[in-house]
Structure formats: C-alpha cells, structure tokens
C-alpha cells in the first residue's frame, strides 16, 4: 500500500525521473520559498483531484473522462489561486501565472488518467500525496540550490523574512546570478537528473 506513496517520491519522481511538469519546475524554482509554495499548491490539487477522480471513477463515462478531469483539476486550481491571492499575496505575485497553469501540468492530469481513474480511493490519495511530495522535494531542492548560489540566501520570503545568509557577505555581494536565470535552472535540473540516474544505476548494479 505505501509502496505507491514512496514510488512517487523516489522511483517515479515526476520531475527527476519521469521528466514531466518541467515548466513550473524551471520557472518558480528561483527561491526555496517559492518552490515550497508551488509544491504545496500541487500537493493540494493533486491529492484532491485524485480523490475526486477515484471516487467517481465508476460513474465517469469513458468518453468524457478528459473534460471532466480538466474541470475537476481546474476547480481545485482556482481554489488554490483565490486562497493564495487572499492570504499569501506576495507568494501569489511571485508564482504569477504558474499557479493557474497547474491546470495543464502533466503530473496532475497524468496521475488522474494513469492512476486515480483505475485505482481505489485510498491508493489514489496516497499516490497523489506521493507524487506531490516527490514534485515538491525536487523543486525545493532546486529552489534551495538556485537561491543559495544565485542570491546567497535561503528561504527568503517576499516582503518578509530576509532569508538565512548561508554563504556569507562576499557571496551576497557577488552572487552567481546565472543560477537564478533560466539557463541556471536547466543546469541544476540536469545535474539533479544526472545524479538521480547515477545513483539509480549504482543501486541496481
């Protein structure tokens, strides 16, 4: 039962292994806090859409499943969007269009179609949580690396906490801006994917 949960985190990590949902991953992983916010939004949407899809899987007609998935997903996304705007406006501004874009995030549609539609509710929720946490972990690690190298801080919150000054003043003066620019995102994700493959290969060898 819990295999489903852990598979989503490590073996089938959506970002680092399946390489899906890369667009938001690259775009919002410029800081650890943004990444956490995005991750939380995805976990929420993923878990609840899995729950709904799985619960109603017997009544959803096959021919209509995709439109219905989209409606379900977009409903939860809109909820997240409103709530974020109301209670975390700074984060909402930073994540920008990528929160509404969760609707078309292939992780969520993929899990709904590939897993929740075929499995019982309990498993579907665990799968949603697992994949969501897998996504969050990946994007959080990326956000951490990029923020520390690119800004010299960690966990800075827009309009709030300045962040832990991890690498000292010299670094704050001359941070590696490259890392928070898009190419830096590609570089970091390439490293993470490569590392993942390397360890996977070592473990199975």
């Amino acid at each position: 039962m819990f295999k489903t949960f852990f598979e989503g985190i490590v073996k089938n990590n959506p970002v680092l292994v399946l390489a899906i949902g890369l667009c938001p991953t690259l775009a919002v992983s410029t800081s650890a806090f943004n990444a956490l916010g995005m991750g939380a939004a995805v976990i929420f949407v993923l878990t609840f859409s899995n729950l709904i899809v799985s619960s109603f899987r017997k009544v959803i007609p096959d021919s209509l499943r995709i439109p219905i998935f989209i409606i379900v997903i977009s409903t939860f996304v809109t909820i997240v969007d409103y709530v974020m705007k109301a209670y975390l406006p700074g984060l909402s501004k930073n994540l920008g269009v990528f929160v509404p874009l969760i609707v078309v995030n292939c992780i969520i549609l993929g899990r709904a179609e590939g897993f929740a539609y075929k499995n019982p509710v309990g498993k579907a929720i665990l799968d949603g949580l697992g994949s969501g946490i897998g996504f969050t972990l990946a994007i959080f690690i990326m956000g951490t690396i990029r923020e520390i190298l690119g800004q010299g801080t960690w966990m800075s919150i827009p309009g709030g906490f300045e962040g832990f000054k991890v690498l000292g003043q010299g670094f704050l003066n001359y941070p590696v801006l490259f890392m928070i620019l898009p190419p830096g995102g590609f570089l970091v994700i390439a490293f993470l994917m490569g590392g993942m493959r390397y360890f996977e290969a070592r473990r199975s060898a």
């Binding site: 410029t30 009544v59 959803i60 007609p61 021919s63 209509l64 439109p67 219905i68 409606i71 379900v72 977009s74 409903t75 809109t78 909820i79 409103y82 709530v83 705007k85 109301a86 209670y87 406006p89 700074g90 501004k93 930073n94 690119g150 800004q151 827009p158 941070p175 801006l177 928070i180 620019l181």
Partner: protein, 311 residues
Amino acid sequence: MKDILKPTFVLLITAMVASALLAVVYEKTSPEIEKRAKEKLLDNLKTVFPVEGAEYKPIIKDTLWCVEKDGKRLGIIFVNGMRGYASVIKVIVGVDTTGKIVGVHIPKEGLSETPGLGMKVTEPWFMEQFKGKREEEVKLKKDGGTLDAITAATISSRAATNAVRSGMEKYKKYLKEEEKSENEWYHKHLSEFFPDAEIEECGNNFWVAVKDNETLGSIYLSYGEGYGGKFGVLVAVKDGKIKDIYIQSPDEGFPETQEFGCKVREHTYLKKFIGISPDEAGKIDDVTGATITSEAVKKAVVSGYKRVGGE
C-alpha cells in the same frame, strides 16, 4: 439520442457542481483579496507621500491621486510606466505642490528586469535619490542630470528616471491648479487695497480695481526667493506710485525666520515703499539682520512691476 443526452447531462452536473464550489470560494476570498489590494495600494501611497492624517483622493483611477489634508491640497501621487530592459518599469511618485518629489517607489512585484542588475531599481538607495528633485533634475548623470545610474544597468535606470520625469510633465497641470488654489491667501487681501472697488482679474497675477467704470489702480503679485524659500508680495499701485504693499504672513506660508526675516513684514519697513514708484524700490534700505529677505522683497516688487508692464 441517449448517447448524446447522457454525456451532456453528466458534464452539466459536473460543471454545475464545480461552479457552485467556486462561487462559494470566491464569495469567501474576494473581500479579502480586495482588502489586501487596497491595503497594498494605501501602503504604497503612504510611502511616497507620508503625511500624518492625509487623505488620498483618486483623480484618475489607479493612476493619479491628490493628497489632501484638512481640505488643503498638499500634492499629487501618480503612477507611470516606461519600457525597461525586459519589462515595463512602474513608478509611483509623490510630488508636492511646489513641484518637488516627495518620494518614489518602484514595486518589485511584476517587475522582471535582470536580477541583480535592472532589478536594483527597486533598491532603496536608488529610489531615495529622487527625493526633493525637480522635474529638470530628474535625469541620470550620464544624461546631464543629478541621479546615479545602476552599474551595468543603464537601460533600466534610464527607464525608471524617464518614467518619473515624463509623469511629472504629464500631471503638472494638476499641480498648477493646486498652486492657484493653494495661494488663495492673496484673494482676501486684494479687496483690502481698494475697499469699495471691484477687483477684476487680468491674469498673470495682475488685477485691476474698477469703480463705476473708472480704474482706481492695479494690484500685482510677485514672488521673492528669500532665505528660507519663496514668498509672495502683493503690491497695489495707483498713479504709478505704490499705494500699499503686503507680504504673505507666516500662516499663509511665509518661510522666513521669525526673528530676522519677519522684520520685513513690519509696517516700519513697508512704509518706506509707499508713495514711490515701484521702479525705485531698489533704493530702499535693507532691514538690519534680514538683508537677503529685504533684497528679495525689493526684487519682487521691481520684477513684478516690470512683468505687468509698468502699469
């Protein structure tokens, strides 16, 4: 038929449930969102024009506000944008009625300039340097102005400064209006010079007193630059000679120091002007201890007279 109806029905139900759910969420969150937005806006307005107890009245929605306190206009705040390096740089600027910048704020949100470069326009030191600048000074040093540009981000710095300057130009007329109404102090004095006459405005801070189709005299308003700032002088002229003279009082915005500058407002000094031609005002002795201010008064009288064409 059933093939069409059933899916339609299912889809309809789904959509309705979803809409209902969203409606509830919207109902709950929208006041909060609006409240946040308002707070944020007020926050910004307060940063650029911080006056205790001031009111910010919108003139053009989301673009222009006037700052009022106790019914008196203190200045305006405007929002203006200019294409920067990678995005439009939005500036929020407070300008007081004399045309000086009170504060500039460049919000980080929605700005996508290069991090560490163009993004630095949002750093306090950059926004600070606008304070107290007049329109013509709002230029980068490179372009002959007074402001420092951000190293290696000339385009963003220039866009931000240009946004401030072009905004000031665009909304100048709102300040001009203010100048008039703000300087209302002289209106009540106009009638004091020619008690029975009707005062007709001829524009250009020049009035003519008329009684029974007969011109009794004229009044002009002129400004002098004293030790502490600008002050106004009203001069009534009759038959080419100064009939009376009035200098703005401290309540009306006279900027000079109480102990020295204010001496020029004393009757003993002003008396010296009466009866002479405004041309000859320069000959009058200065008030001891208030040379700059007295010189300013004399200059104002002479220049004002010249301006209105010597009657």
